[in-house]
Amino acid sequence: MNGSRINRFFPYLLLLPSFLILLPFLYWPTLQSFIMSVYREAPFGARKFFCGAYNYVNILSDPAYLNSLWRTLLFTALVTGVGLAISLLCAVMLNQKVRGAKLYRTFFFIPYAISPAVAASLWVFLLNPVAGFVNYLLYSLFHIQPPWLTDGFLAFVAVSMASIWKDTGFNILFYLAGLQTIPESVIEAGKIDGASPVQRFFKITVPLLSPTTFYLVVMNLIFAIFENFGIIDIMTAGGPANATNFLIYNLYRDVFINFRPGAAAAQSVILFVLIIGVTIAHFKYNGENVHYQ
């Protein structure tokens, strides 16, 4: 009798600690983001008043915010597209049946373990115009010295390179796992039919890896939108002239530099909508994928 009563409450007791963290620190602040986003703070003092969609209208008609949104999307597309292409090539290279290839794989995973701040610091040195190695190489070969972090376009490229470098390890890991699920017989059949290695790559390997690619696209979108704050803060601090002022960085500035909590909350809600969109696309595709298998 007593034992079964204990058993009835036992699972709730097991869940209690997790919800003691999740409710106040994850759910409550998210709800608050929505609430704060429809309030405005009076210029002086702590008075707040309801303002409906004002914050949303305000940021969505602000050219600076739209610029930030546009640049984030461009950055996300660039990092995801170029990053996945490089990762797939590396994975195919590392997937060869050569003794000892496993050891080299480890080296390719290392950048993913490194923090955004460390990655940024290393890249800022590599790209610095005076003592940096990249410009030394470019000068010796082509007699050019690009001002990497002081030109808007180049800073955008520099931040993208550092992000791609940091995330390839993750992508390679999944592509290697995906490559190992492709049956040898399919590749052999392609060989017998006279397909060249390049044809086999584009006509067999790439299509068969599409579930992996889709998963990685989703993950890379999330990395690019949410997780590169450290890289931006150390490499460019959003500059020059807002060229790398991505959504997350803009939000951070509105909280701590411009003190616009209402506008920042509205931006949080927009980010939330973005992530919900990505997640729904993910589950929809996964559902369809399972259906057709």
Binding site: N7, P11, L14, L15, S18, F19, I21, L22, F25, L26, Y27, P29, T30, Q32, S33, C90, M93, L94, V98, G100, F107, F108, F109, I110, Y112, A113, S115, A117, V118, A119, A120, S121, L122, W123, V124, F125, L126, N128, V130, F133, Y136, F170, F174, A177, Y215, I222, F226, F229, G230, D233, I234, Y252, V255, F256, P261, S268, L271, F272, I275, T279
Partner: protein, 286 residues
Amino acid sequence: MTPSIRSKRRFFEHRIRAALGWHLLYIVASLLVLMPVLVGLSISMQPRDQIFTYPPSLFPKTLYLANYADAWRLVNMGRLLANSLWASLIVMLGKLLLGITSGYAFSHFEFKGKRFLFFAVLFTLMLPLEVRVVPLFELISQLGWANTYTGLVMPFLASATTTFLIMQHFKTIPKELKESADMDGCGPLRFLIRILLPLSGPILAGLATVNFLSMWNTYLWPLMIINADNLKTAQLGIKMLFSPAAEREWGLIMGGTITVVIPTLLIFMLSQRFFVKGIATQGIKE
């Protein structure tokens, strides 16, 4: 020499040459991938005048470690590393502990509202720090936890991914074990500690590594919540090395950066198998 032996020899020579070619390619590619770290390491061991020579020197000429000592002193690196270590250990332990209890609840028990509660845990995957950072910052400040270890770690102690993966793993352990344990009068807590946990070594090690490193690498939250220099984390130390930038002391900056990345690399090397497994399992779908 018969033709067949000769062709066999040619075959092997061809294979060895191909293997050598691959190894050469691998070595060059690995050096390229690790270049930022290797260059940083090299610069961290060069004195100022050597860093600014032209052409830049790839290798340090002497074993010069003053940059490390200077960086250590300038930002109080020992303290920062200790702060990061504590925060990462506590978050790692919290996520594992809460992941084990909640994963166990979902894997081995039937109860009212299970589906709803499970969904409520999974849904937090869609609530990254960035979508709740403003009110979270206010909440932590109101609780008086701004500028404290508590404020630094508290919001990270539970994790949907860890719960989910531990649940998935517990489900693979045969139901009969639980039934026979019930019959033998082994209580649910003892079953967890005596039977489930000993069978979960690798997955727990993988999650421990990934969770430790993710907290070690965290940047945005410590930047927001910690102001006092003696409470800052190692990642913030890197920013501190950059900020007095009248002229950047690259040797010093790289010394500090390499210092911060050494624990990451050590953990990665020591538990590489678990780390890779830990990431790989995150991709496994139901």
